[in-house]
Amino acid sequence: AQSVTQPDIHITVSEGASLELRCNYSYGATPYLFWYVQSPGQGLQLLLKYFSGDTLVQGIKGFEAEFKRSQSSFNLRKPSVHWSDAAEYFCAVGWISSGSARQLTFGSGTQLTVLP
C-alpha cells in the first residue's frame, strides 16, 4: 500500500533563511509526486509535481523539489523564505486504484512558521 510520511509536524524559520521540508513515500511503482500548500481556512494549491525526467523540479513561488529514488524522498526546498510562505505544506503520492480511479495519498502536513 502507498503511504507518505512528513516527519516534521512544525518548522520555524526566519524570513530570508533557506527551507527544506521533508517527504518520504512508499509505493510499489514509479510514483507521481506532488507538493501542495494550504493557507489557513483555504483549499490546497498545487506547488509542483513530478513523474519522470529531471529529478529536480521547479514550482510556483520559487519552490523546487528533488526526487531521490534511492531514498524514496521528495523534499521541498526554497532558498529564501518570505513571510507569505507561512502555511501548511502537504506532500502527496498519486496512484491508480483497482477500479482505475486516480487517487492521491497525502502526508499529515508540515506547518511552516516564518519569523520576521
Binding site: 509536524i9 490546497l44 509535481k49 513530478y50 498519486g94 482505475s100 480511479a101 502536513g109
Partner: protein
C-alpha cells in the same frame, strides 16, 4: 479555465440535523470528483470519489454519503450529524485527458468548515 466551487464556506449545525454540502466544477467535462475531510493536524482523509454520474466509491464507512446527480456536481450528505463529523471538508476534481502526470493532479475547492454542536 476550470473552476471549482464549494458552499457554504462555513456551517454550524446541531447534532442530529441533516447535512448537504455542494461542490460544482466549471470548464471541464467528465471529471473525477473527490470529497476529503481534514481534521486538525491529521492531513486529508479521502471520504468518497466518483468517476461518473451516479458512480460513488466510499473509502471510509461512516455517517456520511455522497451523490453525483450531474456530471459536474458532487454532493456530500448526512441524515443525522454527529459531533465527530466536525471538520474541514474539501472537494477536488481531476481531469481524464492529457498526459499521465496531468491526469493525476487534483484541484481543490476552498473548503467548508463544519462545526457540529
Amino acid at each position: 479555465s476550470q473552476t471549482i466551487h464549494q458552499w457554504p464556506a462555513t456551517l454550524v449545525q446541531p447534532v442530529g440535523s441533516p447535512l448537504s454540502l455542494e461542490c460544482t466544477v466549471e470548464g471541464t467535462s467528465n471529471p473525477n470528483l473527490y470529497w476529503y475531510r481534514q481534521a486538525a493536524g491529521r492531513g486529508l482523509q479521502l471520504l468518497f470519489y466518483s468517476v461518473g454520474i451516479g458512480q460513488i466509491s466510499s473509502e471510509v464507512p461512516q455517517n456520511l454519503s455522497a451523490s453525483r446527480p450531474q456530471d459536474r456536481q458532487f454532493i456530500l450528505s448526512s441524515k443525522k450529524l454527529l459531533l465527530s463529523d466536525s471538520g474541514f471538508y474539501l472537494c477536488a476534481w481531476g481531469g481524464r485527458t492529457g498526459r499521465p502526470l496531468a491526469k493525476n493532479i487534483q484541484y481543490f475547492g476552498a473548503g467548508t468548515r463544519l462545526s457540529v454542536l
